[in-house]
């Protein structure tokens, strides 16, 4: 991987009050040498790796449990991916799906902050054969 460049997708949980515009303005206000592009789901952030990570850490202070990020392989505006250049966006279906689930993760993070414990999920067990026979009245 390039030691220098890092591009990140910043995504806001649907249950958050923060808007993509606020994210972009907050990044601009930091005055760091990064490129930021507003997107429908949040923003695309690009710059030197250390600076980008600092910006993400700062940005999380806005609403730490509602701002999610991941690395993006292609740089912002890459003609192979950017819609402005009629690029394809094969990863967007995944992003859209995960965006819809972020509120559940946000809830989980808030519970984890409060020190709550996980409730064990009721697992569906296989039906014992005797019980199945009883149901079918095969005996």
């Amino acid at each position: 991987m390039s030691a220098e460049r890092e591009t990140r997708i910043i995504m806001i949980s649907p249950s958050s009050d923060i808007t993509p515009d606020q994210i972009v303005r907050a990044i601009h206000a930091m005055g760091k040498s990064v490129t930021v592009k507003e997107a429908c789901y949040g923003a695309v952030l690009e710059g030197k790796r250390e600076i980008v990570r600092d910006v993400v850490t700062e940005l999380r202070k806005l609403d730490k449990n509602a701002i999610f990020t991941k690395v993006r392989a292609y740089c912002a505006g890459d003609p192979r991916r950017c819609r402005a250049h009629h690029g394809t966006r094969p990863g967007f279906a995944q992003l859209e799906m995960e965006w819809g689930d972020l509120w559940k993760i946000q809830h989980g993070l808030e519970c984890a902050d409060r020190g709550e414990k996980a409730n064990e999920r009721k697992t569906v067990k296989k039906l014992p054969i005797d019980e199945f026979k009883k149901i079918c009245e095969v005996k």
């Binding site: 993006r72 392989a73 799906m97 559940k104 996980a118």
Partner: protein
């Protein structure tokens, strides 16, 4: 620690692993390397015959090319991993769509490697979201 995430392109898993101070191993970082650092072999994605051979290390020649192609990227990543988090029962559109055989093969490779593995279920509601986050937090804190 380097933590392999499955699906390897998941934002949720990537973010949660990174929040715990570990390094998530994801497809995105590998693709970045491919499109940036290599010389222009086969533009635009730079998939070269070497990648095909890498895939052959993990799956035989009779295996469909899609499986080998994916394993050419994910196989070396699993070798590098020190722990893994696998999300189970994902909906169809979640993760790398189209090849369940690759998913099975990835799980087999992880199991064969013998690294600590956490299996979590896809969250269908907020209670399951809580369960996912807390289980991952406990697992990742235990790795330190």
């Amino acid at each position: 620690m380097k933590v392999f995430i499955d699906p390897p392109n998941s934002l949720i898993l990537f973010d949660l692993v990174e929040r715990s101070g570990h390094e998530p191993l994801s497809t995105m970082a590998l693709i970045q390397e491919k499109i940036e650092n290599t010389e222009i072999d086969m533009p635009p994605m730079n998939v070269s015959p070497d990648d095909v051979m890498k895939g052959l290390k993990y799956a035989g020649i009779e295996v469909p090319s899609g499986v080998r192609g994916r394993l050419a990227l994910w196989g070396p990543m699993i070798e590098e991993a020190e722990a893994a988090i696998i999300m189970e029962d994902c909906p169809y559109g979640f993760g790398c769509v189209g090849c369940h055989r690759t998913t099975l093969m990835v799980r087999y490779l992880i199991k064969k490697k013998g690294i600590p593995v956490l299996n979590v279920n896809y969250p269908n509601d907020e209670e399951e979201g809580k369960e996912l986050v807390i289980k991952m937090k406990e697992f990742l804190e235990g790795l330190k």
